[in-house]
């Protein structure tokens, strides 16, 4: 771990921070510091330039209007696309996930996305609100995922991305798959926030950021997050019966 300080950029909290999204930044910082890694959280507003030199980028969810404004500013800035090309980890939630694709739907029309992930989003027949769970892609090694979703969009994956998970409860992209990943970029509809309920996903991103196999990170006492996970899975099972 050669890094002296892990710089985590949280993009546009002024526009995209609707469902406890700051929690993902807090969880990453907490898990890094618990391993003796210094963290410098950087909150970048939509009227500021995005730093090129950060180690990880987070972008959250939000309403239609702010989503369209955020996509426009990200396209003009260009730094997030360059970060993706450079292999920097990016975690994008909900509206932030949709705008990483080629196009998304907001305010009743289609908008151009950043084309970082090979996917596109449109409107679904109804709003997807509730608990979501799934079996994550085996290559990621993070086990089942759990979160809460609240979105009107549906996302269609292209060939250059893999689904983050196969849905076992909830809707996700389209009722079958949830989220997407390619390289070190992960998009998901899970808020909750996702990383509080899925610590192994947090460690995967941390491992990518510091260039270490996540399995080599010193283990943490995850009694409480594990208890929360089993509670949420059990609640879904009880509801299904």
């Amino acid at each position: 771990m050669a890094l002296s300080t892990l710089r985590i950029v949280w993009l546009y909290p002024d526009l995209l921070s609707t469902y406890g999204d700051r929690g993902n930044l807090l969880v990453l910082a907490h898990r890094a510091r618990a391993r003796g890694i210094d963290v410098e959280p950087m909150q970048i507003r939509s009227d500021q330039h995005i730093p090129h030199t950060a180690d990880m980028y987070l972008i959250g969810g939000g309403e239609d209007g702010p989503q369209a404004v955020a996509a426009d500013r990200l396209l003009q800035d260009g730094a997030l696309s360059r970060a993706a090309e450079a292999g920097k980890p990016i975690l994008a939630i909900c509206a932030g996930y949709q705008l990483l694709g080629s196009s998304f739907y907001a305010n009743g029309r289609a908008y151009e996305g950043l084309n970082i992930l090979d996917l596109r989003s449109d409107r679904g027949p109804s709003r997807a609100v509730g608990e979501i769970a799934g079996d994550s892609h085996p290559q990621l090694g993070i086990g089942p995922i759990t979160g809460f979703e609240n979105h009107g969009g549906r996302t269609h994956l292209g060939e250059a991305v893999q689904p983050l998970a196969r849905v076992t409860a909830g809707v996700g992209n389209d009722g079958t798959t949830e989220g997407a990943w390619a390289g070190h970029v992960i998009g998901t509809y899970m808020h909750g926030p996702g990383l509080a309920r899925n610590p192994r996903l947090a460690d995967l991103l941390l491992g990518w950021a510091i260039g270490v196999d996540p399995a080599q990170l010193p283990p943490l006492d995850d009694t409480w997050p594990e208890r929360l996970r089993s509670e949420r899975f059990q609640a879904l099972q009880a509801a299904a019966q």
Partner: protein, 414 residues
């Protein structure tokens, strides 16, 4: 007032009272909702008919509605009888019951759910509407907050007419919604939660903030000069003519001093001398269990209700610096099923105290506190929480149904 009612409305009113009384007698609650529902089935215009001829104020906003309604009622009682929905039943069924139960009251102070403001404006034709604040609340089932402000703005433009609006100058969403009205009295009621108003609600550009002042860098929407404010380290409210009215509230916190300022502004529009009204606000000790003090086994609990991020931050501002804190979180339907908002609350100010967590979703709180580096103890219920802290003062913060569970443990303390 009721003398003018049609026979049908009188019949509806009688049925309403009977249904409410039955509901109370069978222990199903205070009967406000069922009573109003029965009355409105018999006479759909009952609310309108019962409001006719009375001087009405509606009070709405995300947080502080119940307390401000209680303060306003206390202030208006200086000049007459006041009908009010003091049980927090803040939809039309509750308003109908409140008016039916107080046929001789010439005034009405009605707490109004944010989503029913338009309906109440049309039905109750209020003299005054007080708008407190808007922030995120139960996003999985309610409207997103900017959309709600837009709906208010539309509603007020269509229906406010000669109504005077008493509005919070410190909340950009409230200012944007209220500024379509001709008559607005601005109160510097503060804003503890700014994350939902980083962006101008009018044009989407950034809002600049300098201390208490804010303005849009693009369209010019800005903080109006308030006529009413809290001053002198929170010990007094200052009115439009610069006169000072001393506050000596029993209810804690900055936010309740702001609620008091709003209540005095409203009362003065009804002709109440604020100097006469202010001492009446000090008599309010608790509001439907909120701020109530209860004792068990030498533990002196103060009960604080907080339903959303702004509410939790406000309650952390109210609590005494040293006593243990009990936090209780549920996620039942009326609370919202989504608990993610607890990550919008900064818990670091609780570090170093004894913190006990309970409620249906105590594990969510445990994970949240761990992330913020706050030590905690998890227990099954409020009884266990009481047993886990030493005798002495204890602060209890709970969201809606968690709060009602705790109230039930103390005989539904008011």
């Amino acid at each position: 007032m009721s003398a003018n009612l049609t026979p049908r409305a009188k019949f509806a009113t009688t049925l309403l009272r009977t249904a409410a009384a039955l509901s109370r007698a069978t222990g199903r609650g205070d009967g406000s909702v069922i009573g109003g529902r029965v009355g409105l089935i018999v006479e759909p215009r009952l609310l309108e008919l019962l409001a006719e001829g009375r001087h009405v104020v509606l009070i709405s906003g995300t947080n502080g509605k119940t307390t401000t309604t209680r303060f306003t009622t206390a202030a208006l009682e200086a000049i007459g009888r006041v009908a009010t929905n003091s049980f927090g039943a803040n939809m039309p069924t509750g308003h109908t019951t409140a008016l039916a139960k107080a046929p001789k009251a010439e005034y009405a102070a009605l707490e109004c759910d944010e989503h029913y403001l338009g309906q109440l404006l049309d039905a109750a034709r209020p003299k005054v509407v007080a708008l407190l604040n808007l922030s995120r609340d139960q996003l999985d089932r309610a409207m997103e907050v900017t959309a709600l402000a837009a709906k208010w703005r539309q509603t007020l433009q269509a229906s406010a007419g000669q109504t005077t609006i008493v509005a919070n100058a410190d909340d950009p969403l409230i200012v944007w919604a209220a500024s379509v009205c001709e008559r607005v009295v601005w109160v510097a009621a503060g804003q503890s939660w700014t994350a939902d108003s980083a962006i101008c609600p009018n044009c989407g550009a950034h809002l600049d903030r300098f201390g208490e002042f804010w303005r849009c860098t693009n369209c010019g929407l800005n903080r109006p000069s308030p006529q009413w404010s809290v001053a002198h380290q929170g010990e007094a409210v200052v009115g439009p003519d610069g006169r000072r009215y001393d506050l000596n509230l029993q209810l804690p916190g900055r936010v309740n001093r702001a609620n008091a300022a709003t209540a005095l502004a409203v009362a003065s529009l009804f002709g109440v001398d604020p100097a006469q009204a202010a001492p009446r606000l000090s008599e309010v000790a608790s509001v439907a269990g909120r701020y109530a003090k209860v004792e068990r086994d030498g533990r002196h609990l103060r009960l604080l209700l907080a339903k959303n991020p702004a509410g939790w931050l406000e309650s952390f501002d109210m609590i005494e610096p040293n006593p243990p804190v009990v936090l209780s979180l549920n996620a039942r339907e009326v609370d919202g099923f989504d608990t993610s908002w607890i990550y919008d609350v900064d818990f670091t100010s609780l570090a170093g105290r004894k913190v006990v967590v309970t409620g249906d979703r105590r594990t969510d709180l445990a994970v949240r506190l761990e992330v913020d580096g706050v030590d905690f103890l998890v227990v099954d219920d409020v009884r266990a929480a009481i047993a886990a802290v030493p005798p002495g003062p204890v602060e209890v913060v709970a969201n809606y149904t968690a709060f009602q569970d705790i109230r039930a443990e103390f005989n539904r303390v008011n």
